[in-house]
């Protein structure tokens, strides 16, 4: 392994002359598809802007990696590409709805299962922190990640780009794209052997491959309109859920676990500008089909498995009108938006023979035999599938208005959004059990249990935001109050537990006995519903630009959450996880960021640092088992820190045009793993480095992550009285060659 690393480092390179890349020729536009028509340094919120050069120096290839460059945003990499849990300023949850929305070229991704993908031709990412509900609506109480990609009309003439990379675990990445004549075509492919080995069969558990691409047509039919239409495709197939036993640190389970996803996203965006009016229109259709398999006990015992498939047809529509100023001191914006999400989901949980014995029968029979020593319940099924199917629908419309007033150096901004959403779940969950209770039966009997019905809920949200700021030449000071919300809905993952309990109560009723063992909380379908979470944020902050090239951002905030959605596992030996509306919680926090670009003679460089602190606790949370008031909210880190220093020298010779070195470090933690706050991941640090050599058309990059091979955990949970965790990735090194002309 060590010699392979050395080989990668000492690989020879090709000599060409240096030239500017397409990323350098792009105008330094600070606002494009963002809905907030203000320069970044004047924003009445915290915004982190990541440009292409910065992301290349930091080796950012996914939205998860991009999030690490901003304070108080944490997107842990665990589980699978389906797992996109985001924690922003102490808010977040592992499943269901997200606290941060992801918008790609003005089109919101409607399901967070699509958040984790390989980035290609990204020119800029903006990370807006704080509630964005007034302008972006649902699932943005923590903020918005706006991803902007190269568009054909951005380039002069044409550009061809290609890159090939090889890194640890036999990971290969290849991308190619062409932009010109109003068209853009891009394709990518990657594969990896994986990092985690399953002791059960000796194979790597997280190997996989991914591919994708897009076709874009960008045109200006006349002086007023710009129309961009695109089709994006993404496919991933991977082994998944490399969860190890917490005591031994060994991954050891017998059933295959994996994830496969196909996503298609055709969209149309149009921009109209005339006489001071600016109209942005966007519409998209989003198709996703995925298939997830999980050994749900994560042990080599054959207990139970889960297979979940989804087929989603989603659509979005947005229209935003920026009006010209009727008077010098006032301007306004209005908008309407709508979404439809449909999902056909199948999620059968299958109990194997050992699972039937240990999870279903063992406790029951131990109790029965205390009174009737020679009697027991037995189930004859070799496997017991609990078949669950769902048809989920979320549909919503919203309208919003923003007014902006200016009085000398003072700016006042008020916005309000009215959001209506309908959530509906049609469900069917059933099981067939061959059972015998020897106390009162002579032969096996087949029992068919079926839960079937429709649940529907309506939500109306009014989301206000009021902000004030003062601007001078070098500083903007602001304060705001805003409300955000995470959508409510239904939790299909709980159905296997509800159906299990219903099987037992049906069995008991069938025998003329009365069941005492079923957890009464989980016998009713109503337990699957979770209400919207609303958050109020109070923030004070400042943006400073004391000297050219230097930008400093600071902020302090307080968040109060109502009906906070928290992931909990049902108690005892039950399956699945559920979303619970914790009563109330609060966050006190602060963050700071520094960004400095410099150039002197042949030398150039970049310094970027970000730090975030969030003290997030439950004000009141009792789940019927424990009282966790004043406990830290799990899974959200208290501290996030990032520092990156890049320095380069323009050699200006045919043999080598430029060379630059980047050193970076990340710090994350403490992360509490449960509401009890008795397990945690302490603060840990990761070091990385990148060496870049540039010629006219070619760039060679050598990079390394987690240089010190720090051991840390990115995920922990408890299931069936066992503790599991996922370790963070070990040291990685890679080499990448990029060509652009």
């Amino acid at each position: 392994m060590r010699y392979r690393v050395l080989f990668i480092v000492w690989l020879s390179c090709i000599v060409f002359a240096y030239a500017e890349t397409v990323m350098d020729t792009l105008p330094d536009v600070e606002v494009s598809v963002s809905r907030i028509a203000e320069p970044v340094v004047r924003q009445q919120m915290q915004v982190s802007v990541l440009d292409a050069r910065m992301m290349e120096a930091a080796v950012v290839t996914t939205p998860k990696e991009a999030a690490s460059l901003a304070p108080n945003i944490y997107m842990p990499d665990y589980g699978s590409a389906m797992t996109s849990s985001i924690y922003v300023r102490g808010l977040g949850s592992r499943i269901n709805e997200s606290v941060m929305g992801v918008v790609v070229d003005g089109v919101p991704l409607l399901d967070k299962n699509m958040y984790d993908y390989t980035l290609q031709d990204v020119k800029r990412i903006e990370l807006l922190r704080g509630p964005q509900g007034a302008l972006y609506g649902r699932n943005s109480p923590g903020g918005i990640m706006e991803i902007r990609t190269i568009q054909p009309l951005d380039v002069n003439d044409y550009v061809v780009r290609a890159r090939v990379g090889y890194s640890s675990a036999n990971t290969v990445q290849a991308q190619a794209s062409f932009y010109g004549g109003g068209w853009g075509i891009a394709a990518r492919y990657g594969r990896t052997d994986g990092f985690y080995r399953n002791a059960f069969n000796g194979r790597k558990i997280d190997s996989g491959q991914q591919a994708g691409g897009r076709v874009v047509y960008d045109c200006r039919p006349n002086d007023y309109w710009r129309v961009t239409s695109s089709v994006t495709a993404d496919w991933v197939e991977q082994g998944a859920f490399p969860y190890a036993d917490a005591r031994s640190g060994v991954i050891d389970f017998n059933r295959s676990s994996g994830y496969e996803r196909l996503a298609l996203l055709p969209s149309v965006r149009a921009e109209y500008m005339h006489q001071g009016y600016r109209l942005l229109l966007s519409g998209s259709y989003q198709f996703m089909h995925d298939d997830m398999r999980m050994d749900q006990d994560y042990t080599r015992a054959d207990i139970f498995t889960l297979r979940q498939t989804q087929r989603q047809h989603n659509a979005s529509f947005d229209a935003i009108l920026y009006a010209p100023k009727p008077v010098e001191w006032y301007e306004w914006t209005v908008g309407v938006s709508g979404i439809i999400k449909t999902n056909r989901m199948s999620a059968p949980v299958t109990f194997m023979r050992e699972g039937i014995e240990t999870l279903i029968l063992a406790n029951a029979n131990n109790g029965i035999r205390t009174a009737f020593p020679t009697d027991s319940i037995s189930i004859r099924n070799t496997v017991l599938p609990i078949r669950s199917r769902f048809q989920l629908l979320n549909a919503g419309v919203a309208a919003y208005h923003q007014s902006h007033f200016r009085v000398r150096n003072w700016h006042f901004n008020a916005s309000v959004r009215i959001d209506y959403e309908n959530a509906r779940m049609r469900y069917t969950s059933e099981a067939d059990v061959d059972y015998l209770f020897t106390l009162m039966m002579n032969d096996y009997k087949t029992l068919h249990t079926r839960i079937h019905g429709v649940k529907e809920a309506h939500y109306v949200q009014v989301l206000p935001r009021v902000a004030v700021s003062y601007e001078s030449d070098i500083v903007t000071v602001y304060g705001y109050v805003a409300e955000g919300f995470k959508a409510g809905g239904y939790n299909p993952q709980m159905f296997s537990t509800v159906t299990q309990n219903r099987v037992m109560t049906d069995m008991a009723a069938d025998m003329g006995i009365h069941l005492q063992m079923a957890d009464p909380r989980f016998t009713d379908v109503a337990v699957t519903e979770y209400r919207p979470q609303t958050d109020w944020t109070f923030e004070l902050g400042a943006h400073l630009t004391p000297v050219e090239g230097l930008k400093i951002d600071v902020a302090a905030f307080h968040i109060r959450s109502y009906n906070q959605q928290v992931t909990v596992f049902p108690t005892g030996k039950t399956t699945g996880r559920m979303m619970a509306n914790a009563a109330r919680s609060r966050v006190w926090g602060a963050e700071a960021a520094l960004h400095y670009r410099w150039s002197h003679n042949r030398w150039f460089g970049l310094l970027h640092a970000a730090y975030g602190f969030a003290d997030a606790r439950f004000i009141r949370f009792n789940d019927g088992i424990g009282d966790y008031s004043n406990h830290f909210i799990p899974y959200a880190p208290q501290h996030t820190a990032h520092a990156m220093c890049n320095a380069g020298y323009r050699v200006g010779h045919k043999a080598l045009q430029a060379v630059s070195l980047t050193l970076k470090g990340d710090g994350i933690g403490r992360i509490w793993w449960n509401e009890q706050n008795d397990r945690s991941q302490p603060l840990y640090g990761l070091l990385g480095a990148t060496l870049t050599l540039e010629w006219k058309y070619v760039q060679l990059q050598l990079w390394a992550r987690n240089l010190t091979d720090t051991r840390y955990d990115v995920f922990y949970f408890r299931s069936m009285d066992n503790d599991f965790l996922q370790r963070g990735r070990p040291r990685e090194m890679g080499i990448e060659v990029k060509v652009e002309f």
Partner: protein
Amino acid sequence: MKKFTFFLVLAAMMVACKSNDPDSSNKKNFDSATEFTAYGLISVPGQQFMKDSVRVVAELKGDTALDLYLYEVTFSSRMPVTIDMVIPDIPCERTTQLITFAGEDIEPTMGGNPVPKYITTGLAGIVTPDSLCFATAFGGMECIYQGLCVMTR
């Protein structure tokens, strides 16, 4: 010795039940009633287990036999289910303001199914206007019930 102690407890319990004789509307209806409902405590000495608020109904079949219905009974704290039991055709004697019943080797039913493994032995009990008490053993598991009669009809 164990059986002697058991019958001593039963006798004491019967005395206590019979002595419990406050004014009650049940007294008026008792001599013509055929169904008696009680709520009380069931105890299983061998399991050191007790459960309160257990409903028992005694239903007369003529004047010489009765059926005893036990609803949602359990005999152990670890038992995950409660059972409806019937002890049928127990020989009984009826006098003024008192019914006594006793039986041996009676096959009960649970959930409507006969359970020969748990033959009832040493069953003895009384019904008064205000109480219903009995002691028995199910397949060797001794069981004592003391209930307050709340309804007669």
